[in-house]
């Protein structure tokens, strides 16, 4: 179901690709060209290349080229397929996983990628390393220990069922690295040259904050089994260059100075396509781009206020004004391409009259300035913009406009990173916050809302020390159940329950399904993505001009 939806969305992009191909009919059918240098423009520089930090897109964009994963999640079917693991078995209660490693795989420093290496990687990702300050990966839950059975077989033990682990071995945060890399302290992993993987590309040189050059690994012969391309990568070299200015990236692409750019704004899509360039908008398949409430703050502790603001939010208007068909309007808290998605669009209707009624009912009456008041307090909320999200400042401004119509003021702050981090952990200062996260497994919901992980709602028991009392045991119980329910059908049912519960409580106002939008030159072929939109240049090649 999810794939049909995705294909429909990608239709314009595919059409434009087809158009570009038709124009070059005969040549387009030619065999892939080997060699050449590809120039890829990133918006931001990578920060840390410890594999579990790959959730940050610039980090993931690098890690996806230089590391391999135990398994491969097919981006079309979302099925888990063999990669470094040839085969695997999972115990019925999902507390034991056995992986059989493909023979002959080596890291680029020459050391073997065997059961021992896999075991050490997941010990680090699953348990963290206090001494070297390696944090625990957010995609692995209930990890206990590893057991090397023979040089090519490894078994993982879990304290409790961990049904998400198989998919967890395929994600960007589970890239396998050499033991030499794992022996380095966390804060040295910002240096790309120290990240030794087994991937199709290796780091050749870097200029910190400016450029990273990757070369194809000549002896690479262990791509995902079902990947259309096999053997070494087709490109010789990738130059990942940081270019923060939107107008410079677009101009560079259109003038032929770059081949691929990440993060192109919706308003530029038409211009790019009209000139025969390709747009790729892979879905991030995770938690939708949303506005979340921090119910610990008394202003939004009343469910009626939250519901009112949900009714006052016109997501369709935001999508129509700021985005393109590549950004579908949200129909639940997770994307329609995510596993277990339930269409709850009927609970997300825009109804300002209902909003006003609920606010009046909750005791908030219109004050002289047009802002609602109760017991001498004004209903004024504050949110920080989140720069990595597409047009987040504009999105929040539109939300503020819409809320103003029912007498609620939303201040949108563009703070420095320090204030943002500190204030965002304080529900008293930020009763509202923008949020999103991408991952193609139901665990993603837990990642986003559980107090022990991202804690989007700011419950007690998380990193924040400022939360007074808010804690929703029912929600957390559901989230924990998702993370440890071994039966797939039951697990997806739980995912549905969480979606309904979160929307019934009006904790979240989902707005749109966030894609990662890339634009590429017409001559780029074979450009692919992993399941949640990180680019893969393994099968990419540049056709003759």
């Amino acid at each position: 179901m999810s794939t049909t939806r995705r294909n429909l969305l990608a239709a314009p992009a595919i059409l434009s690709v087809l158009g570009a191909m038709c124009a070059r009919d005969a040549f387009a059918q030619a065999a892939p060209v080997r060699g050449g240098t590809l120039i890829y423009l990133e918006q931001q520089t990578y920060t840390n290349l410890y594999p579990p930090a790959g959730g940050f897109y610039p980090n993931g964009g690098v890690l996806n080229q230089i590391t391999d994963k135990l398994t491969y999640q097919n981006p079309q079917t979302l099925e888990i397929e063999p990669w470094i693991a040839e085969s695997w078995t999972v115990s019925a209660d999902a507390t034991e996983y056995v992986f059989r490693i493909r023979p002959g795989v080596t890291f680029s420093d020459g050391t073997p990628l065997n059961a021992e290496a896999v075991a050490r990687n997941f010990d680090t990702f699953g348990l963290g390393n206090r001494e070297l300050r390696h944090p625990v990966s957010e995609v692995i839950t209930n990890y206990l220990r590893s057991e090397v059975i023979d040089p090519l077989t490894v078994r993982f033990h879990f304290r409790a069922p961990s049904p998400g682990f198989l998919q967890g071995t395929s994600v960007i945060g589970s890239g396998l690295v050499s033991l030499r890399t794992l022996a380095l302290p966390f804060d040295q992993l910002g240096d790309a040259t120290k990240i030794i993987g087994s991937g199709p590309f290796v780091v050749a040189r870097q200029v910190l904050g400016r450029e990273l050059v990757l070369n194809a690994r000549q002896d690479y012969a262990w791509g995902p089994k079902q990947h259309p391309h096999q053997g070494r990568a087709l490109l010789d070299t990738i130059r990942i260059i940081v270019s923060g200015e939107d107008s410079v990236r677009i101009g560079a692409l259109l003038s032929g100075q770059a081949h691929v750019i990440r993060q192109i704004q919706a308003y530029d899509e038409g211009r790019v396509q009209s000139r025969g360039f390709q747009i790729f908008a892979p879905s991030t398949r995770g938690v939708n781009n949303s506005v979340v409430f921090r119910p610990d703050n008394p202003l939004v502790a009343d469910i009626r206020v939250r519901q009112a603001l949900r009714y006052a939010t016109n997501a369709q208007e935001i999508v129509d004004t700021l985005f393109s068909p590549n950004y579908p309007r949200a129909t639940s808290i997770i994307a329609s391409t995510a596993q277990g998605h339930v269409n709850l669009a009927d609970r997300l209707t825009y109804d300002p009259r209902q909003a006003v009624r609920l606010l009046e009912e909750a005791g908030w009456t219109l004050g002289p300035q047009g802002v609602r008041q109760k017991d001498g307090r004004e209903l004024v909320l504050t949110a920080y913009e989140s720069p990595p999200q597409p047009r987040n400042k504009d999105t929040l401004q539109l939300v503020a406009q819409q809320w103003a119509r029912v007498g609620v003021r939303l201040n949108v702050l563009a703070g420095d990173a320090g204030s943002r981090v500190v204030d965002s952990l304080d529900p008293a200062k930020t009763p509202v916050a923008p949020a999103m996260v991408g991952r193609a497994d139901p665990d993603v919901i837990r990642s986003q809302y559980h107090p022990l992980t991202r804690n989007a709602l700011l419950q007690t028991g998380g990193v924040s020390q400022r939360v007074q009392s808010f804690n929703d045991a029912r929600l957390n119980g559901l989230l924990d159940a998702i993370a440890s329910e071994p039966d797939r059908a039951k697990r997806l049912a739980l995912v549905g329950d969480v979606q309904r519960y979160v929307l019934d409580q009006a904790y979240v106002i989902p707005i749109f399904e966030e894609p990662q939008v890339f634009a590429a030159a017409p001559r780029l072929r074979g450009f692919g993505f992993e399941a949640v939109g990180r680019p893969s240049f393994y099968g990419a090649w540049l056709a003759a001009r």
Binding site: S247, Q265, Y267, V412, S419
Partner: protein, 277 residues
């Protein structure tokens, strides 16, 4: 920060007074924008019309609409208040603190002079952009705070200039005489030194006015501008640049307005400076 150099002072030129008239006209117009924006702009600068975003200039929207469907002309006109106020505040901060320091140093001399001038050196030695960014982060984001940050950086320039002016005036015979005839320090300072030193300080202030607008714009570019939806010229230029490929007028029209105001300020500053010689 964005290039205007205050110590450069002024160039006496024999341009026709037409330029000066025009400069005052520009300043007068934007002042009127700032005081009664409703007379010039009939559309809402803050509330956009959804679905009418990024329209090209037309009769209805003479400067087009921005990414949220807001009328650009209204935003430019309403932006005058925030921008002029910001620039005025920035210059005031520099003028008041800088001139006080400079007067004190120049008039007292000795240890006070040495101490003040080392302080000024210290302010100059720290990169100005870093200084103003830190001040903004400390005070919090907002147009007033950004203006204070910009003004803070210019304190050193005003202090240097006013000190050298005071030294020049002090050597004048009538001031020596006033001091000699037992005039109280502050009284002489107020009656004789300040008025004479003030012309070139005011010329610098007019010049700083233009560069303050530019500095505020640079802060917006680096992401330290006023929070939305405030229309402020520097921010309009900085935000509009992202639309360059699709709607170039969004960054160019506020740019032209700023250019006109800065050029006018410079022209007026020159005429103020010229009156002295």
């Amino acid at each position: 920060m964005s290039g205007a150099n205050p110590v450069a002072g002024v160039v006496p030129v024999r341009l026709p007074p037409l330029g000066l008239t025009l400069a005052w006209a520009v300043v007068g117009l934007v002042l009127a924008w700032a005081v009664v924006p409703g007379l010039f702009a009939w559309q809402d600068p803050l509330q956009g019309i959804a679905g009418r975003q990024l329209e090209a200039p037309s009769l209805e929207h003479p400067l087009g609409t921005d990414g949220l469907g807001r009328d650009m002309l209204a935003r430019v006109i309403h932006g005058a208040r925030e921008s002029l106020l910001g620039a005025f505040l920035a210059v005031s901060v520099g003028l008041v603190f800088g001139t006080t320091l400079g007067l004190l140093a120049g008039a007292r001399g000795g240890i006070v002079d040495a101490a003040v001038m080392r302080l000024v050196d210290t302010l100059l030695a720290i990169p100005s952009l870093l200084l103003s960014l830190s001040v903004i982060i400390l005070l919090g984001f907002g147009s007033i705070n950004a203006a204070i940050a910009v003004g803070f950086v210019s304190v050193a320039h005003f202090a240097r200039l006013s000190r050298s002016e005071v030294l020049r005036v002090r050597r004048a015979e009538y001031v020596e005489a006033a001091f000699g005839s037992g005039g109280r320090f502050l009284a002489v300072l107020w009656r004789h030194v300040l008025p004479n030193a003030l012309t070139s300080v005011l010329a610098l202030a007019a010049l700083q006015f233009g560069s303050a607008i530019l500095a505020l714009s640079t802060l917006g570019f680096l992401g330290y501008g006023a929070p939305p939806p405030t229309p402020e010229w520097g921010l309009l230029i900085a935000e509009g640049r992202d639309f360059l490929a699709t709607a170039w007028w969004l960054t160019c029209t506020p740019g032209v307005v700023v250019l006109a105001v800065v050029l006018s300020a410079e022209r007026i500053s020159r005429s103020l400076g010229a009156r002295r010689t």
